[in-house]
């Protein structure tokens, strides 16, 4: 029998439990699954790797993360590869992913 599981349960499985309800509504499955692809370079949970050269992104201020991505995208902040990545995302996508990453403890 199919359980009447609320979609929110999806969000609960690791991080969203730490959030107030209002913030939780801002995180969507797009942000979570897309944000998780950042970990290939930025380490498990976006926390970097000891001795690694790619900085952590988890738990940073959402506004800072979003602005950094936007500045990479415009070229205002110089980068090696991040401009090439950032150009693949809209403002709204950057903001929602930043929100998700900022809430990783």
């Amino acid at each position: 029998m199919k359980q009447p599981v609320n979609k929110t349960l999806w969000l609960s499985s690791a991080f969203a439990l730490l959030l107030p309800a209002s913030a939780m509504a801002d995180i969507n499955m797009f942000a979570r699954t897309t944000g998780d692809t950042c970990f290939a370079c930025h380490g498990p949970n976006g926390k970097g790797v000891p001795g690694g050269s790619i900085p952590p992104i988890a738990g940073k201020d959402a506004g800072y993360l979003a602005q950094t991505m936007k500045d990479f995208r415009s070229g205002k902040r110089p980068s090696t590869i991040m401009q090439r990545h950032a150009k693949g995302y809209t403002d709204a996508e950057i903001e929602t992913i930043a929100q998700y990453l900022s809430q990783i403890k």
Partner: protein
């Protein structure tokens, strides 16, 4: 028994657990699901490379109620990324070889080191060589590549101990390393890259760079000849510029149209004959044959006439067998290259798709990323980047994003990319196996 799990009572539960660390939250999420009385679904993942190991880990991340069994015959996994760096002597073999301990201990995955002897998609079972039969609810297959041994006369699987391909990392990589070390100064290394599509498009050319780096330091009179089955290759202008700047005339590339396509190999004399009938004799010969999906994919009937596995590219579920997912090099993944990074991304989206399917959630349409770094020298890195999203039909490139390292950039850019290449390796191996 069924307890309707509303957002309201979920949040109430959440407030109780709010003070716990992330690890404990997984347990509480698990407990909550158990409250509903849901049976624990079993997902079997076959193949412990970048695709399979990532998928196993992220299945547990997305729904800790899922029981995951990862089947991989090897006790440790040696990666193709980084294996060229090892050939140059820039890193040691242990640094590119990883254990499954963290997946077992930290993520609760049942890792079984055994060969698969058969898959029954209708009966939803996997048979192991030890006689055991596993029942699954969903199956993920990530078998990597196999070679088309019928494409080059005189070169078959029995010849790889003399003429390595070194395109599946491990003993083959060590063999090529040893042959390069034993080669006299002034010798010739010949590499024959395969036609498209193949695992790691920039890989053969990074290998050339790394062998050149080793020769320049230790055997400067030596030559490298590339007999290519193609007329162009990944990051070609960047590699060409780097080779010219760093290695002068040590490297000669012969494209398919200029007589580079090989027809046959004489293993005993390490001589290659091209389609035009010209012969080239090597001291160290490295033939990388044309490729197809891993053998397991064929055995399970997951391939089509192309020799690769067609999948619904938003979920990576096979279009041939329902409930079976194919990720990594074996899959037909739209514009995504066959790379470790692609496989890692696909492992995550596949894990999400299975969690979504098992729980009746909505499938998101995430954006995936791929970055392929290559070292042209120890302090000289280049890259190609792309962002992908399912467009309703295929996993397509997001327009306006991606691209390669600018040609003629300042040395500081190449140095930074070499540093980030190593950082990428550390991170992705932790994301896949170690962290």
């Amino acid at each position: 028994m069924s307890i309707k799990f509303t957002r309201r009572n979920f949040i109430r539960t959440a407030s109780v657990t709010a003070a716990l660390p992330a690890g404990a939250l997984l347990t509480s999420a698990h407990a909550m699901t158990s409250v509903q009385g849901t049976a624990q679904p079993h997902v079997v993942v076959i193949g412990g490379g970048f695709g399979g190991a990532t998928c196993a880990k992220y299945l547990r991340r997305y729904d800790s109620n899922i029981r995951v069994t990862l089947i991989e015959p090897k006790k440790t996994y040696t990666t193709c990324p980084g294996s060229n760096w090892y050939l140059a002597g820039l890193t040691d073999f242990d640094s590119i070889t990883h254990s499954y301990q963290a997946l077992k201990d930290k993520h609760g995955i049942n890792v079984v080191h055994e060969w698969v002897s058969g898959i029954d998609p209708a009966g939803k079972t996997v048979k192991l060589k030890n006689g055991e039969t596993l029942q699954y609810d969903r199956l993920v297959v990530s078998p990597g590549i196999d070679f088309r041994w019928d494409t080059i006369e005189g070169y078959g699987p029995e010849d790889v101990d003399k003429v390595p391909h070194a395109w599946q990392a491990g003993p083959q990589t060590k063999l090529l390393y040893d042959q390069l070390r034993a080669m006299p100064n002034g010798g010739t290394y010949i590499i024959c890259p395969p036609p498209n599509p193949f695992r790691c498009p920039p890989g053969p050319y990074e290998r050339v760079s790394m062998v050149a780096d080793y020769f320049k330091k230790h055997k400067p009179k030596s030559k490298i000849i590339i007999l290519d089955a193609k007329d162009k290759f990944s990051k070609m202008p960047l590699f060409m510029q780097g080779w010219q700047d760093l290695y002068g005339d040590m490297i000669e590339w012969i494209g398919a149209s200029d007589g580079g396509r090989i027809k046959s190999v004489d293993v005993a004399s390490k001589t290659v004959t091209t389609a035009e009938g010209e012969t080239f004799k090597a001291d160290v010969l490295n033939v990388i044959p044309a490729q197809k999906a891993g053998k397991l994919a064929f055995d399970a009937g997951l391939t089509n006439e192309s020799g690769w596995c067609p999948v619904h590219q938003n979920t990576f579920e096979s279009t041939i067998h329902k409930g079976v997912y194919v990720i990594g090099d074996s899959s037909i993944a739209g514009k995504m290259p066959k790379s470790g990074h692609s496989a890692n991304s696909q492992g995550k989206i596949c894990a999400a798709a299975i969690a979504v399917d098992l729980n009746g959630w909505d499938m998101p349409r995430p954006k995936l990323a791929n970055t392929c770094y290559s070292l042209v020298a120890n302090d000289y890195g280049i890259s190609v980047v792309a962002v992908y999203q399912f467009d309703g039909k295929v996993m397509n490139k997001v327009k306006g994003a991606g691209g390669v390292t600018p040609k003629g950039a300042a040395p500081s850019q190449y140095l930074a990319e070499a540093t980030y290449a190593r950082g990428w390796y550390k991170s992705i191996t932790h994301d896949t196996w170690l962290g």
